[in-house]
Amino acid sequence: MTDFMPITICIVEDNADIRSGVARVLNQAPGLSCVSTYATAEAALRDLPDQKPDVVLMDIHLPGMNGIECVAKLKARLPQLQVLMLTRYEQSDQIFDSIRAGASGYLLKYTPAEELVQAVEQVHAGGAPMTMQIARKVITYFHQTQKSASEVEKLTPREKEVLTLLAKGYPYKKIASDLGIAIGTLRVHLRAVYDKLHVHCRTEAAVKYLGRG
């Protein structure tokens, strides 16, 4: 493990307790390094790109500029950046907006420390966690935009299958076994869905968030 560079992480969170708490949890974990924390989106936008972290944990609700806009702007400058949104509760609209803005998943703030660490590692490894609600939204989104989308941006049948089962509430394990694929493959599919979503949204996001900046 020591041969590898640790995963560098930045946290954007306005609540100082959580900010420091999460930072400590991450720093305690082997292979993870929280390099900087920011209390506001503005501060993050100013200083974070210099850090070039691997993963950003971004609170959705921030004073001033919100987390979603911040994600969009960061992703525009650091396309390789993996972003996990921090949220208090399942707000699928905002989570989906964040994902469209470039985030690769989200974490509830009361997630136990172990799961937090796992989630960061997973996203860095290319995983893309997706809940039932997000799956529903993705399906709806692609359904609406299908006609205008180019061939590349369309979902593959397998991806659609995965999403459909996910939207029905099936857990990963069950989907993987039902479809006869490994969980890892399932994650790859989901990652592809995220990427297509990001590509899809880039123009839109540029207009929506970057155009103003």
């Binding site: 307790d17 420091s20 708490g21 208090r88 509760y89 703030k109 009361y110 420390a113 939207a167 509430g169």
Partner: protein, 1007 residues
């Protein structure tokens, strides 16, 4: 002296005149002319019982001159004419009057004022200054239309406004002035002193000398009548005097008034010896109310009017209705049954005095006289009747049927059981014999009896109809005997409790009944109709009926005698709004009250009325036999024309017929040519009107109509008054017409037009403003309500926004402070756990503690979620529920399948509903995890316009009854929570078949 040729001519003319008069006399004597007098005096409204001159104005009014003032008379009412409008109020003694051919009414006042009233009541200009300042006693109009005025010692002529005086120098005789007249040819005649003069060649030529000459009267030619002492003379312009004879029985008569009427008869009024009529043949004394006659005039209908010195105003006319009494010396003598024999002889049964004596009487030379007084049956007669052959049958009080034969009385049949009330010879030759309770008939020399029903107590009327049925009335029972059967007709008749005392069939087949206040009841073709005083019938108690050949039904009742046209009765029977036009007799003819006779000795006697072959109507009254000769009834020469006399508004006269002074603001109906203007505030309008039929003023009938209000004529009353209450704005015309009996209505109505002005609120501009005002008010109210509602909504929204802000703040605080701290605590515990050197037991405790803290943090987040107003929509609710279910069940290793609608609407939901639904779903999921042993759960959510439907179905073991109390409480809680938010909770579970929970939540339809 006159030449022989002239003398011959005089003789010739006189001979012709005598011939004419003789002829007239012969004609007149074919009927027994009876003159009768009707008087009006101060009781009737005259100002004074002394009446001098009388004249009929062109409008129809009779001018009547009392010693003071001037009156008008329409036949019913006297009204004072306002002389003060034309001369000074002190100037109210009239010397003489003259109605000129040109229609001007000339008035010569004491003191010399001369007034000429035109038909429109404006005055003729009189050269008053050139006239003597003394009283004119005579007025005359010559053929040129010049006015002549006779004063004590001078006669003046007004011609073309110039006054010419004629005194002794112009041939005026010396002596007292008596008379100034113009004859039919327009010559001016003067009687003065002992001289009779004619005006010729600009002077008065004395053509005859006659002592005691007093009054002159015009003839249609150039001759005059003169009264001198008791002698009536005729004088022509040559001066020849023809003595017509002397007034009978008066040595020293003083002529006071003289008149030749339309028929050529001369009326002589004397000063103290009464009134005489000279018909060319002789003198007839005419009864008057007072022996001194001051004035005579004839009206347009041929009535003679006499002004008396103390009896008021007398009208003398020919009577067609006579009252004939029986004179046998008894205290009470009345004819109670009457019939006519084959020769036109009239017979009657009369009773006389007390004790009862029933006499047979016959009508001889205009008098009812007892017949066969020495017959053994005399004194017992009750009724007489003539059969079709003119044979006279007589009934007696002791039941004997007699017959008049060969100038003697023959006993035909004795009947048992008392008096014969009525005899009714039948068309088939039988004679019906009617007693009090018995009906018999005499047939082929034999007496037969018809058995009457037992309830017949007392027969009160009987008649035979054209078909030969005998009709009987016994109080309120009417029977018909058709020769075989007795038919009770009473059930078809509205006569309960009334005494029917008349039955009479008219040629049209109607059976008429009366008595007991019924009026006239017509029974025809099974239909009964009553006609009463309400429809103009003059009496509701009619005892005798007889029809004449002119279609008049003559009736005698408690209120006397009248006639009414049968066709009018038929119309009245069919149309209850139809008004009859009956003609009454009695009062106008100067007769006493003529109540119909009530029989004595027998309940009723028949026949009691007769239409004789000489076409006279005979009716029997308490005062005697009434004989009416329709041929002599005064003919209505022209339809009477109506005249409006007054219009009053709220008791105030606003228009009158030449009554008001020019200074008053009262319109003159004689000249009114534009509509009256009435204010909108009037409450009551009254119209008074009249018409002229002096022969029988009570028989005038009026009809009126207010166009613009009435749809047709208001018919046929004798009232001379109509009133209306408040009229709406608009134009109106009041019309009134008059008629006499069944005669024609006036040729054109009397009318007055008027306009009722609108109240200001009835004007179009006011109404328009009112509508506008209402519209504005409506707009203002709507606006006010709208603004209020908007304000309320705004306030509500503000409150809600404030509440939402507060909720947001609480949610944020909870999250930021409490949530943050709990998360930190959990993270800290997680990290502590990882630190080395802790025992396994401590590690476990820390893990447990961390789980609790994390659970608390999660709960806080859930609370925050629930509080946050952002989440008050179905979409958030459903999102949250489904995600929760999936995660919650995944944690328990149960597969959760979710079926959600593609689109979940963003409708708002109340926090209560959201909270309760969430808790119920959680409870349901908890139960599944704890009890169901399910491996799979399906959560299905459907949303319609007004309903949210959540179904949670598991594949667990299911249950029949709730397995334990806790679950039972849980189920009850869930049901209660759903009911709290107006929803429904359904549970469906069977052992081995899983459990299905359905939650239904409805809300009012989203529009």
């Amino acid at each position: 002296m006159a030449s022989p040729a002239i003398q011959f001519r005089r003789f010739f003319l006189a001979a012709i005149l005598i011939c004419i008069l003789r002829c007239a006399d012969t004609l007149a004597s074919t009927d027994t002319n009876t003159w009768f007098t009707r008087s009006w005096n101060t009781y009737d409204g005259l100002l004074n019982d002394q009446i001098g001159a009388i004249a009929q104005g062109r409008d129809g009014y009779l001018w009547v001159v009392p010693p003071v003032g001037l009156m008008r008379f329409d036949g019913v009412n006297f009204s004072r004419f306002p002389l003060e409008n034309y001369t000074s109020p002190a100037d109210n003694h009239i010397g003489t009057v003259l109605q000129s051919r040109a229609g001007i009414f000339w008035i010569g006042m004491y003191g010399g004022t001369v007034i000429g009233l035109k038909p429109d009541f404006t005055t003729v200009t009189v050269p008053q200054a050139n006239l003597p300042k003394s009283t004119p006693f005579g007025l005359a109009e010559d053929q040129e239309g010049s006015l002549w005025l006779a004063y004590a010692n001078v006669v003046c002529r007004i011609k073309d406004g110039h006054v010419a005086r004629y005194a002794t120098a112009k041939g005026m005789p010396i002596g007292q002035f008596h008379s100034l007249i113009s004859d039919g040819a327009g010559n001016i005649w003067l009687a003065k002193g002992n001289q009779i003069c004619v005006f010729r060649d600009d002077h008065f030529e004395q053509i005859a000398t006659q002592p005691e000459v007093r009054k002159l009267a015009a003839t249609p030619t150039n001759a005059v009548w003169a009264i001198a002492g008791a002698h009536l003379l005729r004088c022509d312009t040559s001066g020849e005097l023809l003595d017509q004879g002397a007034l009978p029985g008066i040595a020293n008569a003083r002529g006071a008034a003289l008149l030749e009427d339309d028929s050529g008869a001369v009326w002589i009024g004397t000063d103290g010896d009464g009134l005489f009529r000279f018909d060319g043949n002789g003198f007839e004394k005419i009864e008057t109310s007072y022996p001194s006659i001051l004035g005579l005039a004839e009206d347009g209908e041929g009535n003679i009017w006499a002004g008396t010195f103390g009896g008021g105003l007398d009208r003398i006319s020919l009577s067609a209705v006579r009252l004939e009494t029986l004179e046998v010396g008894g205290a009470l003598e009345r004819v109670q049954s009457i019939c006519e024999d084959a020769n036109g002889g009239l017979w009657g049964a009369a009773y006389s005095g007390f004790p009862y004596r029933g006499l047979l009487v016959s009508y001889v030379n205009g008098k009812w006289t007892p017949a066969f007084t020495n017959s053994p049956f005399s004194g017992a007669m009750t009724c007489v009747a003539a059969d079709n052959n003119g044979a006279v049958w007589i009934g007696t009080v002791d039941g004997k049927l007699l017959r008049l034969k060969d100038q003697g009385l023959v006993l035909v049949q004795s009947t048992p059981d008392g008096a014969i009330s009525a005899l009714q010879p039948s068309s088939n030759g039988d004679v019906w014999i009617i007693g009090a309770q018995r009906l018999q008939y005499f047939h082929d020399g034999q007496l037969r009896e018809v058995q009457l029903p037992r309830q017949i107590r007392r027969i009160s009327a009987a008649t035979e109809d054209a078909a030969g049925n005998l009709w009987l009335a016994a109080w309120d029972i009417v029977l018909r005997f058709d020769g075989t059967n007795i038919i009770d007709e009473s059930p078809h008749l509205p006569i309960a409790g009334r005494r029917v005392n008349t039955l009479y069939e008219t040629p049209d087949g109607s059976m008429w009944m009366s008595g007991g206040g019924l009026g006239l009841l017509r029974y025809k073709n099974g239909r009964a109709d009553c006609i009463g005083t309400g429809q103009g019938l003059l009496d509701d108690y009619i005892a005798q009926i007889v029809i004449d050949s002119h279609g008049w039904l003559w009736c005698a009742g408690d209120h006397g005698i009248f006639k009414v046209q049968l066709h009018e009765l038929e119309e009245a029977a069919q149309d209850h709004n139809f008004h009859l036009r009956p003609v009454a007799y009695g009062q106008n003819e100067g007769l006493p009250s003529l109540a119909a006779l009530v029989s004595i000795g027998v309940p009723f006697a028949l026949p009691h009325s007769l239409y004789s072959h000489d076409r006279r109507v005979w009716l029997l009254t308490k005062m005697g036999v009434v004989a009416a000769d329709p041929k002599l009834l005064p003919a209505v020469r022209v339809p009477p024309s109506a005249l409006l006399t007054r219009v009053a508004m709220d008791g105030q006269i606003i228009a009158s017929y030449a009554e008001a002074a020019p200074t008053q603001t009262v319109a003159n109906l004689a000249t009114l040519d534009q509509p009256l203007q009435l204010p909108p505030s009037h409450r009551h309008l009254e119209f008074d009107y009249t018409a002229f039929y002096f022969s029988a003023p009570e028989n005038l009938r009026f009809r009126y109509q207010l166009t613009g209000f009435d749809t047709g004529w208001i018919d046929g009353t004798a009232d001379r008054h109509a009133d209306y209450s408040r009229l709406t704005p608009g134009n109106y015309q009041f019309n009134v017409e008059a008629c006499v009996g069944d005669g024609p209505w006036s040729i054109g109505p009397a009318t007055v037009s008027f306009t009722v002005a609108p109240f200001f609120w009835q004007t179009w501009w006011f109404r328009l403003s009112w509508v506008l005002l209402l519209a504005l008010a409506g707009i203002a109210i709507v606006r006010y309500i709208f603004v209020r509602r908007l304000t309320a909504q705004m306030r509500q929204l503000e409150q809600r926004a404030a509440l939402d802000r507060e909720r947001t703040r609480i949610a944020r605080d909870l999250h930021d402070d409490l949530g943050g701290s709990l998360n930190l605590a959990a993270l800290t515990l997680d990290m502590t756990q990882r630190e080395q050197g802790m025992g396994e037991s401590l590690n476990g405790k820390i893990r447990h503690c961390s789980t609790i803290v994390r659970q608390a943090a999660k709960s806080v987040d859930e609370i925050v979620w629930a509080i946050n107003p952002r989440n008050d929509t179905f979409r958030y609710l459903v999102d949250y529920l489904s995600q929760f279910a999936v995660e919650f069940l995944q944690a328990a290793d149960i597969l959760c399948l979710v079926e959600l609608p593609d689109e979940i609407p963003d409708w708002e939901t109340s926090p209560e509903a959201r909270h309760n639904l969430l808790l119920v779903v959680k409870e349901a999921l908890n139960n599944i995890v704890r009890h169901a042993r399910a491996t799979e759960v399906c959560l299905r959510v459907t949303i319609s316009q007004n309903q949210l439907n959540i179904v949670i179905q598991d594949n667990g073991r299911g249950f029949e009854n709730p397995p334990d109390n806790t679950t039972c409480d849980g189920l009850r809680n869930m049901r209660q929570r759903m009911e709290e938010i107006g929803g429904r909770f359904e549970l469906d579970s069977r052992p081995g078949a899983g459990t299905r929970i359905a939650l239904l939540y409805s809300w009012p339809l989203h529009s």
